[in-house]
Amino acid sequence: MTLIYAISGVAVNHVRDWNPNYTIETVTTNIGSIGTNSLLTENVVTRILKRLDEKRDVTGFHQPDRKTLLIFLDGANIQINLPTGEVVTEEISTRKVFRETNFLHLNEPKKLFTWFADLYAVSLAFLAISGLFVLKGRKGIKGRGWWLTSIGIIIPLVFLVMYY
């Protein structure tokens, strides 16, 4: 469990730099203007896919507005700007291990896992507090332990003062 939280923790810490759950590969091309004002049909979609030399199976398509066409393929999604002919093909896949660890770390399951995660957190708190008093003498809380505990409190306080 600690490893799960550690792996996911690092992954979601860098959410500004990457998507921690998915890889999104995009390819942009241009097939020339398709024309706009009329609604598109399956024949037009087939012609577009032929221009793209796209052989994957079509699972559906939809025109959300007069300038955009979305085509859904088995394993990819295509967005076409009809006036300009710009085509963005997107392939989305889950990041193995990261997706699963994030799923647990961010409590997406809810239900029973919420209780288990709470219990785990309480156990960690118990370990942290009881660990202060396990060692005696020079290595205990009255010796080296005092300095280590102080550093453990001061460092987060410094970040709070800097950024909160």
Binding site: V15, L39, H62, Q63, P64, K96, E100, L106
Partner: protein, 155 residues
């Protein structure tokens, strides 16, 4: 050492199972309604459906990339779609749902956004999706529709 190996193999098998594609995955609360209301019907007479609990069905067009907190569902007719929204963290819709068929149950709501709210929303969506936001498209207050979702099943 052997026991540790067994545990690791079991964990690997679990991850493989979890990673494999599954159909009919439920998110949030179980669906309680059985009759689907067409999105195009709702959008033709939105005030009739305001505040009502509905079950809609359609292809997933877009999903929030950041927190999976909204989806856009295609209507039966072209040029129609409805946004489905959940509170952050309550349900997380997967990005891989794009292109799949979803059934979503929730309460239909009508909102009016001021120009300032639309600007803010446009900039936020630009950050989320990368799609360029053109402020000149905002000409005045705008009414938009949304389904506040309680549960969904995505195939």
């Amino acid at each position: 050492m052997k026991r540790l190996l067994y545990v690791l193999v079991l964990a690997g098998l679990c991850f493989t199972y979890c990673s494999s594609e599954k159909s009919g995955v439920q998110y949030g609360n179980e669906l309680t309604l059985s009759n689907v209301t067409k999105i195009s019907t709702v959008l033709e007479s939105p005030t009739e459906y305001e505040g009502k609990k509905l079950l809609i069905e359609g292809r997933v067009l877009k999903v929030c990339e950041n927190k999976g907190c909204w989806m856009e569902i295609a209507g039966e007719k072209e040029l129609t779609q409805l946004r489905v929204k959940v509170e952050d963290g309550v349900i997380t819709f997967p990005l891989t749902a794009i292109g799949s068929i979803a059934k979503v149950e929730g309460t239909f709501a009508i909102f009016t956004q001021t120009v300032e709210q639309q600007m803010e929303r446009g900039k936020h969506q630009e950050e989320e999706t990368g799609e360029k936001f053109d402020p000149s498209t905002i000409t005045g207050p705008k009414v938009f529709y949304q389904l506040q979702a309680d549960g969904a099943v995505i195939n």
